[in-house]
Every structure is written in C-alpha cells, then in structure tokens.
Symmetry: C2
Subunit: 339 residues, 2 copies
C-alpha cells in the first residue's frame, strides 16, 4: 500500500473523539483562560490570542481520556485543573521555543517574540510556567506535581539536545528519538500519567497509559517533522523545510542522508545546506525536493505508523472499551493530519 | 546620627548567623549542585560556576531559620530540599533576568547570556526552573509546592512591572515597592513561609515569619538599589548607576526627582538621562553625583532601616530566642552590606 493510500484510509476514519470530548475540553479552555490573564495592557491581548489559538488541545485530551476509564466523574475537577496546567505548560514552552528559534509565525499568526521584545517574551513565558505550576499544585496531588516538574525538565532537555546536537547529519536514529521524546512525547506521556493518577487507575494501567502517551507523542512529532518538509506555508503557517533551514536535522533528512553515498554530489549538497554553508536558496530547494522524492518520506511515515500501532497495543487491557476506542482514534489522528 | 555612623554601628554587630548555620548551608549547597548538573559539555561548567558563585545563600538561610524554632531536626531533610529549591529558583531567575537585561557581568563574573546564545540561556534557565520545581515536589508537601509556584508568579510579575513601568519618573513609591516585592521580597517571603510550614510552626507563626521574610527581602532590595548608585564596579561587579543607565528608576532616584522643581535645570537633565534621550556620559555622571549628594541617599537608607525594624517586630513572639536572634542578625545584615 502506498503512503497516499494509507493516509487516505486513515483520513476516512476521522475520529469523533473531539466531538465527544468537546464539552470537557471547553471546561479546560475556560480554566486556561482564567489563569492566563496578564494585567499588562501591552501584553494581555497578545497572551489571550496565543492561548486561544492553541490548536486542538491534544495534551488535555490525552489527560482527560486517561482518567476516563476510572474515577472520572468524582475527580473531574482535578482532571480539568491538571489538563489546563498541561496545556499552559505547553503554551509557555512554545513561547520560549519561538524566542529560541526567533520564529515570526506560529499557526500562521505572529509569535509573541515577533511583537514584543525578547526580554518581555521570556518573562511572559516564565509567568505562564508559574501559572501552569500553580494549576498542577491546585490538584493537591504531590504525585501530579512531581510528574509535572520532571516533565518540564524533560522538555528542556529535549530542546537543549536539539540546540546542541540537532545539526549533526550522521546522528543515530536513537538520538533523534531521545530528542523528540523530550521536546514533545514527554508531555503527552506526563499528561497520560497525570490523568491516570488522578483517576485513581491501578498501577499497571498508569504505566500502560503513560507509555501510550509517549508513543502518541512520538507519532505526532514524527508527523510534524514530515509535514515540515512536505507541507507549505499555507498549511503550517511557516515555510516548508523550516527545520533544515534552521540547521535542525529531523528523521526524513536522516533517512535521506543514510541513503546517500558519502562524497557524492547529493551528499555534498546536503552537507552544505544542513551546515548553513550556503545562502543559495535554489540549492536548498533542490535538497528539499530530493528528500521529498526519496524513500525517506515513506520510511518516516512507517516510523510514525509503528508508534501508533505500539500506542494501541499499550491500551489493549484498558477496562472501558469506549475510552479505548477514543484513545485509538486519537492515536490515528496523528497520521490523519497528513491527509 | 549620620548614615555613615549608623552603618558603622550596624557593621560592628556583624552577624555570626553565617557561622552558626554554615554546616546546614553546606548541605543545601551539596543538594543544589547535585541537581543542577547539565550534561551538555558546552554548558555544564558554566552552570556549575553560576551555581557555585551563588552569593550568600540568603534565601536558604531564611528558609532554614524559619523552621529552626519548631520541628527542625525531624524535618531537616525536607527543609534542606526546599532550601535548595529556593536557591535554584533564584539562580534560574537571575539567568533569565541577565538575558532580559543583556547584562554581561553578575557578581563580577561573565553571565551565561554573555557566553552562550540567548536561546541556550533561556533553555538552561528553564531547565533550572524545572529542577527547582522538582525539589519543591520532593518535599512532598502540597502547601510548599503551592507557595513555590505562586512565588514564581510573583517574581515574574515584579520583573514585568519593572520592564513595563520601571522607567516612569513620577511613579508613586507604592509602585516601586510593589515591584521590588515581586522581584525580590516575594522569594524571601516564600522561603520563610516554606520553612515555617515544613517545620510545622503554628499558623500565626507561619504568617509572622512570612511577613518577616517579606520585610527582609524589601530591605535587601532597597539596599541593592542604593548600592547600585553609591558603589562602583569593584564592589558590585557591574558599573555604578547601572539601573539608571538601563532606564530603571529606583527609590533613590524617585526621592531625588521628588526634591526637584519641575522644569528646573536639574529636573530636565534627570528626565533626559532617565529616558535615554542622551548618550552624553558626562551628563549621566552629573546626575549620579547629584543623586549621591542629595538627601535621597539618607532617605533611602531610612526606608531600608524601617523595613529592618518592621522585620524584627514581626518575630517578637517567636518561641526560640536564639533563632530570633539569628533572624535579627540576618535582618541587620541587609544594612551592613553598605559598610
């Protein structure tokens, strides 16, 4: 089956999980907006925009669904609080990340960093970190707070790895995976664990749901890295091949590099583009086209699929079949974004 | 009594609190160093330097002393953990602050921000925030975690206030105080509260110690703002009048401004220097000299003294007289730094 056929197949099963969970997610949104108030007129509407632009609330969704098979109703308020904390942690992290990358656009909108000074952006990110930590503390669960704090550490670790080692062209796949685990999957894993802990799931289910979250997060990031190369400005709100342009080597480029003979024309060109030794835009476009035309896209898609398959296996023993179904749909959704 | 006589008097009573608490503080230091490990060779020794350069550990000291009258031995491990968390939060906050200010020196040493990229500095600050949050979580006290998170929020709020409103020349003294409460006193207050909570102090003592911490923090910041004007590069590791140079109006300048007639030569010169409308270094030096020669220094010292007096009154009913004495010495120490 070709990639496009497989994508089509997944797209046909477009999940209903967002519909079923809509009201619960609206509660999370309300909580996020309530605490993300900034009283500085210069920044308040910008922060509100950023928080409201906030994508599909995937992390809150993972958290809520992880508690849904267990004491969901009784612990609903804490679950919503933790989910809001997770979403806000994600937002704060994006704000700092955009400053680090000096990105001008995110989801097609100007980043905070492109409107305010870098200093203000750093402090507003810190402020939102603080608000997210307060939400974690408001669950009154020491275990949730510990997961929250260690997740923040993992996120920074992943981002630092990307900064220090992300440009290396012959990095092993395991380095790439450790990096995206930190920067993306750790928060999905943490969200799932928090939801299971707050829902009072048994220990084996907490572990299983955490692994589910991690796998889904990995799939999302792999797909993101694929979209970065195959998508365009319109879809992503940023230029195609942005990672490579910034000197960050992601998995499609790694697969492509591995397929080349060292010293060949293609290999030399890739090396020049990846190291930023060329300002020739045409050369850059040639490399992006070559990656797109290579088997690297197929290979990357297969990697994302393998994480989705693994995610579904993790939750095979989840007691509630409807929740299991919704979680599976969410896992599939990571792939359907490619359609 | 003149300022210099009063300073001399305080200096004669140089506290022994650092000696008595030395071993306990060494335990805190060891804990800080243990968690502030960064595995990236490019950053690890820099982070170690910054953590070790870390001044006098005033915040851990406030925390430990606040628990010392109560269940100190039984809760010692948690107190050390929380104290390490507070110190690391302070360090992370300094790192971001130096990036915001683009400072090149801190305590006479190069800032992280002057050696690494702004991006790496942001992420390393975030990473240390995460480590400090993990220490707070490791106390296993939901209350300590909540204090920790809300303190981080207060710190960011103070820093944002300084960024957005710190340049206003006719700001009321209450705005200045709200700002330095956030950026400095909140962490002293939080440290005192955490220590009292972990030491299982009765509620009224927790409140009293928190207020003590706040007052001492206010005194320290007022003295810092005084030293910024009266000290030189050798003492501070940064140029004199640095705040004004950056366009931040602190209390000595506010007092000086209030003493001038609007529209007078002095007033116009101050306005020009404060707004950054002049690049004339001589004009800047003239203003700094004028502030130094004015009654503003005396007034600022009196303000710091009033906070110290208030701090001592807060702890009048603390049960253990030796600890009360040590806390008083610590409060006095804020003034003795002027000698």
């Amino acid at each position: 089956m070709t990639v496009s056929t497989r994508i089509q197949r997944v797209a046909l099963q477009r999940p209903d999980v967002f519909g079923i969970m809509r009201e619960d997610l609206e509660r999370v949104d309300a909580r996020v907006l309530q605490v993300a108030q900034v009283e500085f007129p210069e920044a308040s509407s910008l922060v509100k925009d950023i928080v409201q632009a906030g994508g599909k609330r995937l992390r809150p969704l993972v958290l809520l669904l992880s508690g849904r098979s267990f004491e969901y109703e009784a612990e609903f308020d804490r679950l919503v609080t933790a989910a809001a904390g997770v979403e806000l942690l994600h937002t704060a992290s994006l704000i700092h990340d955009d400053t680090v990358d000096r990105s001008a656009l995110r989801r097609g909108k100007p980043t905070l960093n492109s409107v305010l000074s870098a200093g203000a952006t750093i402090l507003i990110g810190d402020y939102l970190f603080a608000q997210s930590a307060m939400l974690a503390a408001a669950t009154e669960s020491v275990r949730v707070v510990a997961i929250f704090a260690s997740t923040l550490g993992d996120i920074c670790d992943g981002q630092l790895r990307e900064m220090f080692y992300g440009h290396i062209l012959n990095q092993p796949q395991s380095d790439y995976e450790a990096r995206i685990y930190g920067k993306t999957a750790s928060l999905f894993a943490g969200a799932a664990e928090m939801g299971a802990v707050l829902g009072k799931a048994p220990d084996d289910q907490i572990v299983a749901l955490r692994q589910f979250g991690s796998d889904v997060g990995m799939a999302f990031q792999v797909v993101d890295d694929l979209l970065d190369l195959t998508g365009g400005t319109k879809d992503l709100g940023k230029p195609a091949g942005n990672d490579l342009r910034q000197g960050t080597i992601t998995i499609p480029t790694l697969y492509y590099a591995a397929s080349l003979t060292e010293g060949s024309t293609e290999w030399t060109r890739l090396k020049r583009v990846a190291s930023g030794d060329t300002s020739d835009g045409t050369e850059f476009d040639v490399v992006v086209s070559a990656i797109r035309a290579s088997g690297a896209i197929e290979q990357t898609f297969a990697l994302a699929e393998s994480f989705v398959t693994s995610a579904k296996m993790r939750i095979a023993s989840l007691p509630d079949s409807e929740t299991r179904e919704l979680l599976s749909e969410l896992a599939d959704f990571s792939l359907s974004r490619l359609s």
